[in-house]
């Protein structure tokens, strides 16, 4: 079920009303049933994969706690193999198979290879696999006791707000919340609804409005060059941010309405002044997952410098591969790893002081804006690989990004040029809506530097606050892209 569907518009209030009407002891069952239904709307049969993961990790948790010494590790490894095995089969089988065929063909070898399979990727597989894995790892590390209640554990893996696209929760943060009784609290419910509204705005008004421009160019990049490629890439940067953070906001908001607090997944990432900062503010639940379970396990930064750099690079490569079975994602991950290594190296060479400016407010803000723009440009460059349909398209885009820019000022005098290369033949009203919505996003994020969105709204008079609500609801209803039923980008991961 999509958060931006009428189906969810009925589902959410019904489940929430039933949740508060039921006695506490039955609520887990309601949420579990609702989560099963939520998931089964996509493809019912794949619920069995979730059941497999749940049974394996529930059992592994209990066995790890009971076992001693090497047996503990054995159960952990068994759980990891089972989880990663499912993920590898559904997500990477065909990718690895195709890569093997390419290598054999390149080497002119004719060896028997397994057949390609028609596999439809279960929605959100990488998310719930990682969430389930974090449980067994945390039990192994003795940071959390195993959950004895099978239903509650199943709910931990399947909790519908974050089931298909995160945030990827840790057992310490979520499991206890299912045991706690949540009361209906007006302020909390309103805060949750506000977050849901804002998330929907980001998804249907910004992300889905930008999508046609991005798709037109990225589905046929060879017909474009220069400014069109730049516009499409910058639009994609905002599309993916609004799509994914919009989903996270609806997830956090809907959980908050019922009294659950999920971890923050985004923190205005495009205001980052460095790549390191960007990764502390982008998809936080995944970044911290990789940090805690892979990067630190590899030795983190407490090793020799070459090994440290390898750890960073390897973690980002795997993060890229986590996103999808395509070399474009691997390159995207590798690029981000390289950025980070270069940034560390640069800081070492300059002592991190080169861009520190202490002479006056204007200079301070100019340097800060420069840092933000530079970081954003690097991020956009990496997004090219993330969005491109294949490596060849990505390289075409990279090599033609600046073509024709010298004549841009005169080209922009022509309406035809604007229609073809900036609007990409789309309606100009669509473009204006997208730009206005982006401005709203920018202003909101700028204001959020000072205070949370919730507090900013609370400080407004009732009239202004309601006007803001009306504006957002009207924008969602009339400028949102409902009829195109756009899926969330991250569902495919």
């Amino acid at each position: 079920m999509l958060f931006n569907s009428f189906h969810f518009l009925i589902f959410f209030p019904v489940v929430t009303a039933l949740y508060f009407l039921l006695p506490h002891r039955f609520r887990w069952a309601l949420l579990l049933a609702a989560s099963c239904y939520f998931y089964m709307v996509f493809r019912p049969i794949y619920i069995l994969i979730l059941l497999f993961t749940i049974v394996v990790d529930y059992t592994a948790g209990i066995l790890i706690e009971k076992a001693e010494g090497r047996k503990r590790k054995f159960f952990l490894v068994a759980s990891i193999i089972a989880n990663v095995g499912v993920l590898a089969f559904f997500k990477y089988y065909n990718f690895l198979n195709e890569s093997l065929r390419d290598v054999l063909s390149f080497a002119h070898l004719s060896l028997p290879v397994p057949p390609m399979l028609e596999i439809l990727l279960p929605i959100g597989l990488s998310f719930h696999t990682f969430q389930s894995l974090s449980y067994t790892i945390e039990v192994y590390r003795k940071k959390t006791p195993p959950e004895r209640h099978f239903g509650i554990f199943a709910l931990y893996v399947m909790f519908y707000p974050q089931l298909v696209a995160g945030p990827i929760e840790r057992p310490q943060n979520l499991l206890w919340q299912f045991h706690t009784k949540h009361y209906f609290d007006y302020s909390r419910v309103v805060a949750g609804l506000q977050l849901m509204l804002w998330g929907l705005f980001k998804k249907v008004v910004i992300a889905d409005r930008l999508a046609p421009f991005v798709n037109t160019v990225y589905n046929d990049p060879h017909s474009y060059q220069g400014i069109s490629l730049i516009v499409a890439t910058v639009f994609f940067a905002f599309q993916i941010y609004c799509d994914f953070s919009g989903y996270s906001d609806v997830a956090l908001g809907s959980a908050q309405v019922m009294g659950f607090k999920l971890m923050k997944n985004f923190d205005r990432p495009y205001f980052s002044k460095s790549i390191a900062e960007f990764w502390k503010r982008w998809h936080i639940s995944l970044s911290t997952w990789f940090r805690d379970y892979l990067y630190i396990s590899l030795g983190g930064s407490r090793v020799a410098i070459p090994r440290w750099y390898f750890n960073l690079f390897f973690t980002f490569l795997i993060s890229g591969l986590w996103h999808g079975a395509n070399w474009t994602y691997v390159i995207w991950g590798g690029l981000n790893g390289l950025y980070l290594i270069m940034e560390i190296q640069w800081d070492k060479l300059t002592g991190g002081n080169l861009f520190k400016f202490e002479g006056g407010t204007f200079g301070f803000w100019a340097v800060r804006a420069g840092q933000i723009l530079f970081t954003f440009s690097l991020t956009c460059f990496a997004w090219i690989f993330f969005r491109a349909n294949n490596v060849s398209d990505a390289f075409y885009i990279v090599t033609h990004l600046f073509s024709g820019l010298t004549t841009l000022p005169s080209d922009l005098q022509s309406l035809v040029f604007i229609k073809m290369n900036i609007l990409m033949q789309h309606d100009k009203s669509e473009f204006i809506i997208a730009i206005v919505a982006l401005l709203v996003l920018f202003v909101t994020h700028w204001l959020q530097r000072m205070d949370s969105g919730r507090n900013l709204l609370a400080n407004l008079s009732t009239g202004l606050r309601w006007s803001f609500y009306y504006a957002i609801v009207i924008a969602i209803l009339f400028f949102g892209a409902f009829n195109e039923s756009q899926q969330f980008i991250y569902f495919q991961f």
Binding site: F20, F184, Y186, V189, M420, Q425, N483
Partner: protein
């Protein structure tokens, strides 16, 4: 001791329940109040129904709706109209085909066609509309207007998805900005008796001529992409017509020589010829678009692509009587 702690716990539960009930009522009251404008809006849509999607009558006349809603989105209007009263003969294409009024067709050729062409219509819309009509009724005849600017893979406008989406989920009709705009303009036009002048250019003929030639047609030709996919879809459409005994024909409308020269200046003569070859391999083609007594005279045109009423009637006569004077048939 037990009794006192149990009564304390009971009173806590009661206090908590009371607070919950108070909070629920507070939220419901505010949400109800917040919803009032939306309820009023829904009632307005029911009352105006700008595309006649919900009912066949409303307080706004069809004439007013034609000058507002129809101008804002002819696809939704025509699909809704056709859905109610389908006809077995249809005309498909863009504004050039749209200019051939059904009444004139009936008067000139005594055939009852539904004009299913849209201003700014694209090949995608033509194909979608054909199948929409075919799904709705058993078609006998379909005439499709195509020129080089529409036989272009780069022309990607697609407005034909909207009406089927309304049919599938009528709620979308209430949250569509074209419906919103149409409802307000229709209601305003009806109440104030104002002609909204939507879609009518507010410039002199010469300025509009230049705009249409350089910006609109120039835009299409500048980014011309040979429509491999659409050619295949048209072939499938022709095959479908053959299976269902639907008579199919194409019309290449006469464009002014200025437009024909624009094709040459964009080095698209080869593509222009290829289009004719492709279409004639699929079905019968009436080709008016070459240098002739119609296309060389500016007085036959409102702008470089849209011909005047006498030429419209001549085209109707030629394509429906079979007696061609200007049209080359293939």
């Amino acid at each position: 001791m037990n009794h006192s702690s149990s009564s304390t716990s009971n009173s806590e539960v009661t206090a908590e329940t009371k607070k919950e009930l108070f909070d629920v009522r507070r939220l419901l009251k505010r949400m109800a109040l917040f919803s009032v404008p939306f309820v009023v809006y829904v009632l307005l849509i029911f009352a105006v129904d700008p595309f006649n999607f919900l009912t066949s009558s409303s307080f706004v006349s069809d004439d007013v709706k034609r000058s507002t809603a129809f101008q804002l989105n002819p696809c939704v209007w025509k699909m809704a109209e056709f859905d109610k009263v389908p006809k077995d003969k249809i005309l498909l294409g863009d504004s050039r085909m749209q200019s051939l009024k059904s009444e004139d067709v009936k008067a000139v050729a005594n055939e009852d066609f539904y004009n299913f062409a849209y201003g700014g219509g694209t090949l995608r819309e033509v194909i979608d509309t054909f199948y929409f009509a075919s799904k709705r009724t058993e078609l006998k005849k379909a005439i499709i207007g195509i020129n080089l600017d529409t036989y272009n893979d780069y022309n990607i406008t697609e407005r034909t998805k909207l009406y089927p989406s309304f049919k599938e989920n009528p709620t979308l009709y209430f949250v569509n900005k074209t419906v919103l705009q149409s409802a307000f303009t229709s209601a305003y036009s009806q109440i104030t008796k104002t002609d909204m002048k939507i879609g009518k250019p507010n410039v002199d003929k010469e300025t509009f001529w230049k705009h249409e030639l350089n910006d609109v047609m120039g835009g299409y030709f500048q980014k011309y992409v040979y429509p491999v996919k659409y050619k295949k879809e048209l072939e499938e459409l022709a095959k479908y017509c053959k299976e269902k005994n639907i008579e199919l024909a194409f019309v290449i409308f006469p464009t002014h020589v200025d437009t024909q020269n624009l094709v040459k200046s964009h080095h698209l003569e080869k593509e222009n010829q290829q289009m004719r070859t492709d279409l004639s391999a699929i079905a019968k083609v009436y080709d008016f678009d070459y240098e002739n007594e119609v296309t060389t005279k500016k007085e036959n045109y409102d702008d470089p692509v849209h011909f005047t009423k006498p030429i419209q009637e001549q085209i109707i006569r030629e394509i429906l009587s079979g007696q061609t004077k200007i049209a080359k048939t293939k």
